[in-house]
């Protein structure tokens, strides 16, 4: 007798979100890319189709970073000196989205010129993140949002400390926000409520649950993401947002990736290990529900992309 496969029937659905605007919508992006729309746990095609492929975004910086692993400097070479060149290199390496991460040294004018340069260099949808200090982020983000009005940029990092300013400028200038909370279902939900209460349409929010790297707390992010997706499927409207995870940032902070010398021989070959660290972190989090995964190394981009295409196959 054939076995009946148990299927979960959910009534909730992750929202469908469009990133980037083409000329027709008032922007300059080559095309609009859609994420979200899931009605099952990740990639359970026997239960429901996965309508949109998760995106690989590549992280680029407005200035050449001084604290990145030498392996990354080697991989990107000269391109790292200039955000426009870096954007082109990232696109050539297979990026489907770009994240321009600004630094503390940037003035609003610097930020605007970096954003314009990247927009001119690549037609991919773009996220722009501040350095992560609430006041500085506000200053930079307001300038960027105004200068790129209508592009449907994803603006971050939008946290409980500074969401008001960033949400207001996103609303006024036709952008999206990346709502970040520290690994907690209720905090995520609460921030999304605050943001929508201000009047930002819910189809302009991406949720960023904060994650840890392999070996440095990946299990917390992994489980919070599974719980957020379950809550979304159960019909909790304020958790029904696609999730972005900053894997490259976390994984390349780990000593395993950053350092080649003076580490145990049992860690194996440095470059392979470092890339394995980023890929393992990325694939675990994709399988727990990430829709946008932000990476740093071109080799990771290639391999994670291949994994995604296998996951998208029933």
């Amino acid at each position: 007798m054939p076995i009946e496969i148990p299927k979960d029937k959910w009534n909730g659905k992750v929202r469908t979100i469009n990133l980037g605007a083409t000329a027709a919508e008032g922007g300059t992006r080559a095309k609009v890319i859609t994420v979200g729309g899931e009605t099952s746990m990740p990639y359970l095609h026997f239960e429901a189709p996965t309508p949109n492929t998760p995106l690989i975004a590549v992280e680029i910086k407005s200035r050449k970073p001084t604290d990145w692993s030498p392996l990354l400097a080697e991989a990107w070479g000269e391109a790292m000196n200039n955000p426009a060149a870096w954007a082109k290199a990232a696109e050539a390496a297979g990026a489907e989205m770009l994240i321009l991460w600004l630094t503390l040294e940037d003035t609003p004018a610097d930020a605007v010129s970096a954003v314009k340069a990247v927009l001119a260099a690549s037609g991919l949808p773009l996220a722009v993140f501040g350095p992560g200090q609430a006041e500085k982020d506000n200053d930079l983000m307001v300038a960027v949002a105004e200068a790129a009005k209508g592009e449907r940029l994803l603006l971050g990092i939008c946290e409980d400390k500074n969401y008001r300013t960033i949400v207001a400028t996103a609303m006024a200038n036709g952008h999206l926000v990346n709502a970040r909370t520290p690994m907690d279902v209720n905090l995520a939900k609460q921030l999304n409520i605050l943001i929508t209460d201000m009047g930002l349409p819910a189809d302009r929010i991406i949720m960023d649950p904060t994650v840890g790297a392999l070996g440095y707390g990946i299990e917390y992010g992994y489980s919070v993401m599974e719980r957020l997706r379950l809550a979304a499927l159960q019909g909790d409207s304020m958790t029904q947002f696609p999730m972005l995870v900053t894997v490259g940032f976390e994984a390349w902070k780990a000593k395993e990736s950053k350092v080649g010398e003076g580490v145990p021989a049992s860690w194996g070959k440095w470059e392979a290990r470092a890339i394995n660290w980023e890929i393992t972190t990325a694939t675990a989090l994709i399988e727990s529900g990430a829709s946008i995964v932000v990476l740093r190394h071109p080799e990771s981009v290639k391999r994670v992309k291949a994994a995604i295409s296998e996951l998208m196959t029933a």
Binding site: I5, Y43, G217, E287
Partner: protein, 434 residues
């Protein structure tokens, strides 16, 4: 099917004789339903009811154990689909596939430390083309490792040769399929060894396990033969779900073969988080193994209890009275990040580990578990002042904000703020702490 307390009660004698140690049969039934007692504690259950109760109390995924010349690897006994629902219990065994004994000794002695725990390879999966080759290879491999083995062949004669070379052991026979199952099941039964069953649909897997169980082999492992990540995720999830719903035909651990995948690391990561009990890798590569061992540890930690170290004062590189005092929290990852850096630098230090309820520096600070008061208390309870000649403490850079309050709590101490990341500690200790 799992039975409720009431359903179990109906199958007990209902005499309340108390011999089981409980005041009533109902109380005993409730404990049985919660799997907190053994049925054998009641001497009066009828044979017929005993069989039915035993069936209902068996775990949904059978615990399967491989025994080597030394050591064992267990898989199964899992109770949930998502780790946050409870926890995952038996970490999947990582096996290296070999055709000869070359490299086995090296892989066998591999050891890597992650937050104070030593991890290694769990065993080897031996492959051979003929019975004679299997005998020879197994003997050679046995000379290089005592760990449990998996014997890989569809040919019953080859498996029999491998088994014969492993007296007293219970390797996993891998295994049975629709064409050879009768002979292989016979082998497994005689040796008492667990048996892996391969088929590419759940229906045919279930069909095979039922037939093999009828022959008296109970310790089974499923090989669903998925060809790509989408398929392996679906099959792994479906089998786990069915098992948790007490479908006994598929209530067994899974074996995965990332060694055959396009990207071995990614396939093995998926196998670890999505339900495999045994994972077979193509070769011994430390840079791959280390990542997988750490992932396995992370996914299988109990979500209710962060891994912690004992609060206290830790001596690193034989500190002397003039050595610096460093402050950190008792979250294992935090402690080892700091301890390993300092140890590696060869510089002596006193490391004061405060009781921050197992949280990282910033998490504990945000939760109010790592503040000036707690740090001052740790300095006092661990009698740090008696050990040092220079009353000076170094705070983690991430909590520089605490230095003012700590000065107030410890008026006769000098408070210094260290770097934010542990990697920069040795340089800081050399240059800033003289």
């Amino acid at each position: 099917m799992a039975l409720s307390g009431i359903q179990i009660y109906k199958m007990l004698p209902q005499t309340n004789c108390k011999e089981c140690g409980f005041p009533t049969c109902l109380a005993f039934a409730m404990k049985l339903a919660a799997k907190q007692v053994e049925l054998s504690a009641c001497p009066y259950v009828t044979e017929a009811n005993k069989a039915q109760l035993a069936e209902s109390s068996a775990p949904p995924i059978r615990l399967v154990t491989l025994t080597g010349a030394a050591g064992e690897v267990k898989a199964g006994n899992e109770v949930c689909l998502f780790r946050h629902e409870k926890t995952f219990y038996n970490k999947p065994g990582l096996f290296i596939r070999v055709k000869s004994a070359a490299g086995v000794a090296e892989a066998d002695s591999y050891k890597v430390n992650y937050v104070g725990m030593d991890f290694s390879v769990d065993g080897f999966a031996v492959e051979a083309d003929s019975p004679a080759a299997m005998t020879e290879t197994v003997k050679a491999v046995r000379g290089a490792t005592k760990r449990p083995l998996i014997l890989l062949s569809k040919n019953p004669d080859i498996l029999a040769a491998g088994l014969a070379a492993l007296p007293g052991e219970k390797p996993l026979l891998c295994g049975a399929d629709a064409s050879n199952w009768e002979k292989v099941a016979e082998l497994a039964k005689t040796a008492g060894a667990p048996l892996a069953v391969s088929a590419d649909t759940i229906d045919s897997l279930a069909d095979l396990t039922e037939k093999i169980k009828a022959k008296g082999v109970e310790d089974l492992v499923l090989d669903p033969q998925a060809t790509h990540l989408g398929k392996s995720l679906a099959l792994g999830t479906q089998i786990r779900r069915l098992a948790l719903k007490n479908n006994r035909a598929v209530g067994f651990p899974l074996i995965a073969f990332p060694c055959n995948a396009a990207d071995e690391l990614i396939a093995a990561s998926q196998a670890i988080s999505k339900y495999a009990g045994f994972v077979v890798l193509s070769e011994f590569k430390p840079e791959l193994l280390y990542a997988l061992l750490v992932l396995r540890e992370n996914i299988y930690t109990d979500p209710q209890k962060p891994i912690q170290v004992q609060p206290g004062i830790y001596e690193i590189n034989s500190p002397r009275p003039e050595s610096p005092v460093l402050i950190t929290t008792n979250f294992s990852i935090t402690y080892f990040a700091v301890a390993n850096e300092v140890e590696g630098s060869g510089l002596p230090a006193w490391l004061v580990v405060t009781d921050a309820e197992g949280m990282s520096v910033l998490t504990a600070w945000a939760a109010g578990k790592f503040d000036a008061e707690r740090i001052a208390k740790a300095i006092k309870t661990f009698n740090v002042a008696d050990k040092v000649s220079k009353k000076r403490v170094v705070l983690p850079g991430h909590v520089a904000v605490l230095s003012g309050e700590l000065e107030a709590e410890l008026p006769d101490w000098e408070i210094r703020v260290g770097p934010r990341e542990a990697v920069d500690l040795p340089a800081f200790m050399k240059t800033a702490l003289n």
